[in-house]
């Protein structure tokens, strides 16, 4: 027969210092990623339903545009060119959903409960950001399998695949926190849904996901340069199908963008809770 835990003397109340805080944050990230995997395990059908849209893009858009050669992509077949873009898009859509989820968690008291644990706010936001990444990576496996079936020539190098995972994690962390930030500003689920829809498609179209940068009009190229999605796509494309990519720049931009957005989203969390 097990016995109930009894409170220890209040000795653990010391200030953990910066290293201790960092260790706590790392444990919280691992915990939230684990929970995300548990959720996925309980609802595997979601992996399939969320694969429908990328599948349509690859099957219909990809196949048709490969055949008619409407978008010049050099030696690379258009379908191969498109696959990493669609991968990034599916990760983007997943990540943007997390802001909606956090409002829902606030309304349901879940967020309050999480915040009454010894978890620094920034650790909680970082943990959410990487949980979004875990889901995006799981989804990516499905999308990449589909791409393989369609005959896309993917790199066999395991290091490249590791890079793909990192790029997806960082990209998802950025967009997840972007959506948490908007959630912290608008505070209502309905408004966030509207804004979420209003920004995801422009983010997608104003990136190199569908067409090479050189084909864009000048003003779109400017937007493309400040759009983290483009750096994510460039990295994914370079790693998966070997097109030229500035990998150092891509990863540096993704890392900085994710760190900045995590900071901003964390600072808005109290407003969201108070809301």
């Amino acid at each position: 027969m097990s016995v109930l835990p009894v409170a220890p003397p209040a000795a653990s109340a010391e200030d953990p210092g910066p290293l201790g805080t960092l260790a706590t944050a790392a444990r919280r990230v691992a915990t939230m990623c684990l929970v995300e995997l548990q959720r996925l395990r309980h609802d595997r059908s979601e992996l399939v339903t969320r694969a429908v849209q990328p599948a349509l893009w690859l099957l219909v858009f990809g196949q048709v545009f490969t055949r008619i050669h409407a978008i010049p992509t050099g030696d690379t077949p258009y379908l191969d060119f498109l696959a990493p873009g669609i991968l990034a898009q599916s990760a983007l859509f997943i990540a943007i959903f997390y802001g909606i989820q956090i409002i829902w968690e606030r309304d349901a008291g879940v967020l309050s409960k999480l915040l009454v644990t010894p978890t620094p706010r920034m650790a909680l936001v970082t943990a959410k950001a990487f949980a979004a990444g875990v889901r995006a990576v799981a989804q990516a496996v499905v999308v990449l399998l589909l791409a393989l079936v369609l005959g896309v020539a993917l790199s066999p190098n395991p290091l490249h695949w590791l890079g793909v995972v990192v790029a997806l994690l960082l990209g998802s962390a950025f967009f997840c926190c972007l959506s948490i930030t908007i959630a912290g500003l608008v505070l209502s689920r309905d408004r966030l849904m509207g804004i979420g829809q209003a920004i995801t498609m422009p983010l997608f179209f104003a990136s190199n996901a569908l067409y090479p940068v050189e084909l864009m009009p000048g003003w779109l190229q400017v937007i493309n340069h400040v759009n983290p999605l483009s750096y994510e796509v460039e990295a994914l494309r370079g790693l998966l199908i070997g097109t030229p990519a500035r990998l150092w720049l891509d990863f540096a931009v993704l890392l900085l963008a994710a760190a900045a957005m995590i900071t901003i989203a964390s600072s808005l969390l109290p407003r969201l809770v108070r809301g």
């Binding site: 009894v6 003397p9 209040a10 444990r27 929970v35 309304d107 999480l114 620094p120």
Partner: protein
């Protein structure tokens, strides 16, 4: 309490609030509250919708800002050392807040991890609290298949797995049928006997407060109108007074809402839909 030694001296109150205030725009939700919860007692915050019970709880649990010196939990200032205070608290919010997509066990294990329960103790501790709330045999079912009473007991387990010193419950039995209600209170009583834990609970159910609380603070419009044991409060009004009469006496005749009701009802409905 079996733990002795480095703990605070026995005369330090579990929770002490001094001149607590909180306003949302023009609404003054909490308007100068002073109270002390003694270690080991069940302390009830009683009051109509919108009285400021939840707001008080949210300040004590670090969810809303409080100025330095306004709140201490076992002598630790909430404004200065949030993380240390959070380690002493187990919190069950007003809404049904378990994760419907996870199993009961996963829900509890999550909070064991978030409170840094050491890995070697974790499984045993999760099982112990699930046993204590009578959910061990359904622990591996998804929570969306649980009844309201089961979800509430699961939330108790989530709050207890970190061995808190103070259990904070915001309307733990609202929306439950009488049997489920007793189920929740029986669990709380057993757990208190086993651990000597302090319980701070809000409710608008008079009989419940009368039967379960050692002392009660009756709140209305952000203030404490009366404070004492249920017997004291009844006695002050007359020999045959019930706690219902005390409530009416201090809050006016009706249980009429201020705006707080709708917010909470809406939130509760959303939760129901989510767990659905």
């Amino acid at each position: 309490m079996t733990a002795i030694g480095a703990g605070p001296p026995a005369d330090v109150p579990a929770v002490r609030c001094t001149g607590l205030r909180q306003a949302f725009g023009d609404t003054v939700a909490v308007d100068g509250i002073d109270l002390e919860v003694r270690p080991g007692e069940v302390f009830g915050l009683l009051g109509p919708n919108g009285a400021g019970k939840t707001t008080t709880i949210r300040m004590i649990t670090t969810l809303l800002p409080a100025p330095p010196g306004a709140i201490e939990v076992f002598g630790i200032d909430v404004a200065r050392r949030r993380s240390a205070v959070r380690r002493l608290l187990g919190y069950v919010p007003q809404q049904l807040s378990a994760d419907g997509t996870l199993s009961g066990r996963e829900n509890v294990a999550l909070f064991a991890r978030l409170f840094d329960v050491p890995r070697r103790d974790r499984d045993a501790q999760v099982d112990a609290v699930l046993t204590a709330v009578d959910l061990l045999d359904v622990a591996d079912r998804q929570v969306k298949t649980y009844s309201g009473g089961m979800v509430r007991r699961l939330e108790l387990a989530q709050a207890l797995v970190s061995a808190p010193r103070v259990l904070v419950l915001d309307e733990p039995t609202v929306g439950l049928d009488p049997v489920a209600r007793d189920g929740v209170w029986d669990r709380i009583t057993d757990i208190r006997l086993a651990t000597g834990m302090t319980v701070l609970v809000t409710t608008h159910a008079m009989q419940e407060a009368d039967a379960q609380c050692d002392r009660i603070a009756l709140m209305h419009r952000g203030r404490v109108q009366a404070l004492g044991t249920p017997a004291d409060l009844r006695g002050a009004l007359g020999p045959d007074a019930t706690l219902d009469d005390v409530f009416r006496h201090h809050t006016g005749d009706t249980l009429a809402d201020r705006s707080g009701g709708l917010r909470d009802v809406r939130a509760a409905r959303r939760t129901a839909g989510r767990l659905g």
